[in-house]
Amino acid sequence: MSSTPGKNYLNEKSGLWSWLTTLDHKRIGIMYMISVLSFFFIGGVFAMLMRLELFAPGALFEGNTYNQMMTYHGTIMTFMVIIPGVPAFIGNFVLPLLLGAKDVAFPRVNLMSWYCLMVGAAISFLTLFFGGVDTGWTFYTPYSIQTNGTVLMVLGAFVMGFSSILTGLNFIVTVHKLRAPGMDFFKMPLMVWALYSTAIIQVLATPVLAITLLLLASEKLLGVGVFDPALGGDPVLFQHFFWFYSHPAVYIMILPAMGIISELLTTFSKKTIFGYRAIAFSSVGIAAVSFFVWGHHMFVSGQSELAGVIFSFITMLVGVPTAIKTFNWVATLYKGSIEFRSPMLYALGFIFLFTIGGVTGIILATLATDVHFHDTYFVVAHFHYVMVGGTLMAITGGIFYWFPKMFGKMYSEFWAQMSFLFVFSGFNITFFPQFILGATGMPRRYHQYLPEFTSLNQISSIGSWTIGIGFLIALGVIIHGLLKGEKAPKNPWGGLTLEWTADSPPIHENFETTPVVTAGPYEYGR
């Protein structure tokens, strides 16, 4: 198929309607980008307000207001930003390009999953007009049953879950059926392995969330006793259900981010990846084991001691493939030709922060120490190091990496590096003190605290403003690049994966002629 010169997926058709009905994976990816970035902005505002309140407790908000902000921050950031962030947004744009395909396997399903996310998000935001929800993003029973907005919020999460399931299904089929001629599984870029592993979790775990949320709704609306002890239910059962989804979901959030890191490191060190198979299999390994560790959220919940011991043991096993990936990334840098472009800075920042998140994860997987740290700020710091220091750093790095491909324009490298500087330093100022706060006993989800926790909380709040500035700069870089950026070449970074052989921005069905693959994805130095 040949295309008209000057035409690409962005300008081929015009008008809002052409976007809302598009079946092009790239356009759907861009729609996800706009949605996810908007949700990220809203969730971020909630975070800033929370840190502002914690700078001087009681000055701004009452307990209930704070608790609602905490709930919306958590719900928005998990269900609307981090879960769709890599697979649905970046994955949608790059997966077919990485595979040398024209599109995903089911373009209509792909569009439908975007609508599921939007409808689900709209339903969740509706709760704001019905008194708001203050259960925390975990919806623990029986508290959540006694609150009014919960059913609506849960319905929103239920619908958004289908977005995740459909995307996962689509990606599994795409990876199996639409690889370019010659691309066997071990010639796929590692980003594809990561998205593939993620898709498996999305398809297998998300339905459990849907079932749980349905049970919760039927209890609230029909009075069926499942979780509420007043009706003969068991509140701890809810936690088992919830974490059976939500723990694998943590890997939905981090695995594809790890995929991005493998891409960035190889391109900007011009070096083949060290231990391709180890990284690929560790993605699949993490995905498999992730289903058997949920009970580590529940060491003090009242589950049996034996269960606690077994979950602690299996959790330790997840540490191994995670460590392997980190070592392989560092080994990839050895004797490379390392270029400090902004995506690379974000990738190196990822390794730095993710390592801290990882080692503190082992501290939390250890039974006796977890009993003390559970539900304190230590846990808050740990998962922000993984989810923000890890996933969000990877998403931002990924945006700067594929931006020229997405829009055919370059951005200001200087300001992109500045954004990294602010986000990275601000992140550590915000969250490192929270480890100490938690270890010395400050519980999470507190809108007031004892006087001895004041100074560390204030340092943390100051850090949050620094992160805020960093992300605003990044947003400015994106907008400026879109409006005023220079024209981007096909392959600005010297990448070897297939997307860099397509035009920037690519044409409607990506490639003029279907590429034929004869070598691995990172054959630098051969």
């Binding site: 007043a230 070096k271 231990g275 730095f352 997987a365 250890t366 006796a368 270890a439 630098y524």
Partner: protein
């Protein structure tokens, strides 16, 4: 250097050696030997983490600076894998993980095996107060307004048998490194032995609503002698000698009414202040009015969602059932409200 040596002693001599002074800077004060054992494990984990971090990130920094791009035509070697190296950096972390798993398990088992001769105390969590019932009949409540009510003897294993009246709570005493969720509809248990006299903070660590962060209490550890004296003279054993209004005051505290209502002032908390309430006209959210007589107060306790006082629409007060507060007890509370003119 001394700190470093102390850290090495923890690393080498293993399970029971502790470097208390160092640990107490990054952890709460240690209330007993178990706390210092947990701290030894934590310090081991921290040192191991620090070493791995320095290896990984130091290596990364060294490589990125040493192999910084010199020109666009840099040649890089093709190094695809190294089985020996990969085996080593999988197996060594595995061994460390198994070691800390076993260590954590050992301490966890210690904390979760209830001693037979323990001094038992019933603990009830409710929004937003902790209730402690001793076998002697002494009953104390810690809500945010009153702390350090919970008293225990030193050097005596204490077993807490816990349940909740409403939602999930979690009982956390940092000084003893113990924590356990408190669940409605069933019992959970926790044990510890305080080896130091003094006051130690208690937090609720399972989110439970508006005043979750004020659901605090303190445990006061005293000598056995002082403990027995405290128990003998505690006012909760002498209800018969109190006036009805005094009993009412005692109940408003015990039933955590005071978590949300001021009784001796008319200032609002979560709910309205109740000083001078009796006999006054009340205005409700739906526009209706009523005189606050005894029937109204009883209804407000048993059916709090029936009428919302103007300005408090949708504020969810816990419903009290006759099994929580009997009709007789409600009349004591009414007497108490009457007495606050």
């Amino acid at each position: 250097m001394r700190n470093l040596l102390a850290m090495y002693s923890v690393l080498l001599t293993g399970l029971f050696t502790t470097s208390s002074a160092w640990a107490e800077r990054i952890m709460p004060a240690q209330g007993n030997a178990y706390a210092s054992e947990v701290d030894s494990l934590y310090i081991f984990l921290l040192v191991a983490s620090l070493i791995s971090f320095i290896l990984v990130i130091g290596g990364m920094m060294y490589f990125v600076l040493k192999y910084k791009r010199k020109s666009a035509n840099d040649e890089t070697p093709y190094i695809s894998h190294d089985h020996k190296l990969e085996f080593l950096w999988s197996f060594i972390p595995f061994l460390i993980f198994m070691f800390v798993f076993a260590w954590g398990w050992k301490l966890f088992r210690e904390a979760r095996t209830m001693p037979k001769n323990a001094f038992e105390i019933h603990v009830t969590g409710q929004k937003w107060a902790w209730n402690f019932d001793y076998k002697s009949g002494v009953s104390v409540t810690s809500s945010s307004s009153e702390e350090a009510a919970f008293v225990i003897p030193v050097n005596k294993p204490i077993k807490l048998i816990m349940t909740s009246k409403d939602v999930l709570h979690s009982f956390f005493i940092p000084a003893f490194r113990i924590k356990q969720d408190v669940i409605p509809g069933r019992y959970t248990a926790l044990w510890f032995e305080a080896e130091k006299e003094g006051e130690f903070q208690i937090f609720c660590t399972e989110y439970c609503g508006d005043l979750h962060s004020q659901m605090l209490a303190k445990v006061r550890v005293v000598s056995m002698e002082e403990f027995e004296n405290w128990m003998q003279t505690h006012p909760s054993r002498a209800l018969g000698q109190m006036t009805l209004a005094e009993r009412g005051k005692y109940l408003t505290n015990k039933s955590a009414c005071t978590a949300c209502h001021n009784f001796e002032s008319s200032e609002k908390k979560i709910g309205p202040g109740l000083k001078g309430l009796f006999g006054k006209e009340r205005q409700f959210e739906d526009g209706s009015k009523a005189i606050a007589n005894a029937d109204y107060i009883m209804e407000s306790i048993y059916e709090p969602q029936k009428k919302y006082v103007k300005g408090f629409g949708g504020v969810m007060m816990n419903k009290y059932l006759p099994k929580d507060l009997s009709a007789e007890q409600v009349s004591w509370i009414i007497e108490y409200i009457k007495s606050n003119k």
